[in-house]
Amino acid sequence: MSNAVRPLIVGAGPAGIRAAQALVEAGLKPIVVDEAASGGGQIYRQRLAPDKRTPRDLYGSEASKATALHETFARIRDKIEYFPQTLVWNVRGTSADVAIDGRTRRLDFSHLILATGATDRIVPFHGWTIPGVFTLGGAQIALKSQGCAIGEQVVFLGSGPLLYLVAWQYVKAGARVAAVLDTAPFSAKLNLLRGLPSQPGVVLRGMRYVAELMARGIPVHFGVEPDRIEGEARVEGIVWRERGKERRLACDAVGYGFALRSETQLADLAGCRFVFDERDRAWRPERDMAGRTSVSGVYIAGDGAGIAGADAAELAGERASLALLEDAGYAVNRERVAVLERGLAGIQRFRDILEIAFPFPDKWAASVADDVLLCRCEEISVGQARAAMREQEVRELNRLKALTRVGMGRCQGRICACAAAEILADVHGQPLEAAGRLRAQPPIKPIPLGIAADGEAA
């Protein structure tokens, strides 16, 4: 039976690694493809070369989870077919097109597990393209993977658990954090207390980050409405409003973000049906508790299936593989399935609380000025997009893209599509879901032009 079963896993983060492990334990040899040079995904990302820092330095409270995951991946390494530094840029039926070493190649599969994770969710402000402005995730990667701070005087801005975590990690590593600017009011954070009974560790850790930042005299502002980042060749300061007053702070770098957005292009190309997720404010692939999508043989796990965090990603990866095994006629351990599903349900309930504690800045779309760049690739302003929406009755993202090029650039909407959907909803007073979602187009990321195709099935 196992000859016919040839699963392909896209992504070697927590979800992909646990999925691979479960398949290996059932005697299968999955193919694992990841764009990164080594396994771990976003949170447990590994350095390109080892240095003096310990796992504790890099991953803090999550060090033992990081180490366990890396060790698992090392242990199954020769029982899987692993393609690092390889981009899956298309899915057609039961084959995937991958770019590897400047060549493209076709990988055939019997089953597909998408564990593609997420990237920062962004909304633009004046000055968001100035050198020295990075996403929160980008600021964290600079530190974790590269041992660098994004500047000498860093301001962190936004909403989401990552805001305080990254600020705290910077302080711990010896960087100067000029301020933390939270777009949510302090009262929102009180909701976290409701999460204490179910996830005490997470809640207390979060509180500790804030307390330690404040204890070191780092200003933490709540209810911030960002106005602009100043500077031309590089960041010189940031201006915001707080309780009606304008405030300014000098800084040379800004890290910002508003939680995460799922990476869903491959699910789209695989033909999966999408549903609108109110909590994520985004369309995502439809799935059952086990990670089965609407397409037979295609499974989805981790943040790529809706934002739920790293612990959920590990559980969901394993759960998806058990579903795959069951569908392929293997016996699976029912008790394990129940444990995984209970764990996932508990985390989902906690996510609802997190979303209230770290809300999206829903006033942003109405207040953002016309001359702010909406699309940093094609350099289209908010005003140009609004004009098309009003004058040409554009109500949907794909039409907006066709008429204004928003979402047509190299990032393919990864950075601007969430913001564009929010503006569509604001301009027309329509629900967010009516903006739809950008259709994925292969290649889902730029691949070198003239890349030689060997066209052969692997």
Partner: protein
């Protein structure tokens, strides 16, 4: 002037590369983005307005960090490891 500030990994062996004709030093384990932005404060100029850019996401999503090698190859700086002898251009002096 440098955009990024090194806080760790000082102990790793140096790697020489060329940036806009000047010989520079990075470290083993640097990405091209790190190697450049610890020396300079931009990676490229935007396609339409020619404004300076220095990457954004550092995780291969935004595509705002593409730089050129001297032989005309384009590389995504945040996801490419620095290699000895790389000859990189940040477009800066071409357009201004």
């Amino acid at each position: 002037m440098a955009l990024l500030k090194r806080l760790a990994r000082h102990e790793l062996p140096p790697i020489s590369f060329t940036l806009n004709g000047t010989v520079c030093t990075g470290r083993v384990g640097d990405t091209v983005l790190t190697a450049i932005l610890t020396q300079a404060d931009q990676l490229r100029l935007s396609d339409f307005s020619g404004s300076p850019r220095a990457g954004f996401c550092q995780m291969g999503a935004c595509q705002d960090c593409w730089v050129m090698t001297s032989d005309g190859e384009r590389i995504r700086a945040c996801s490419t490891a620095l290699e000895p002898g790389m000859n990189l251009r940040t477009f800066a002096e071409q357009r201004s």
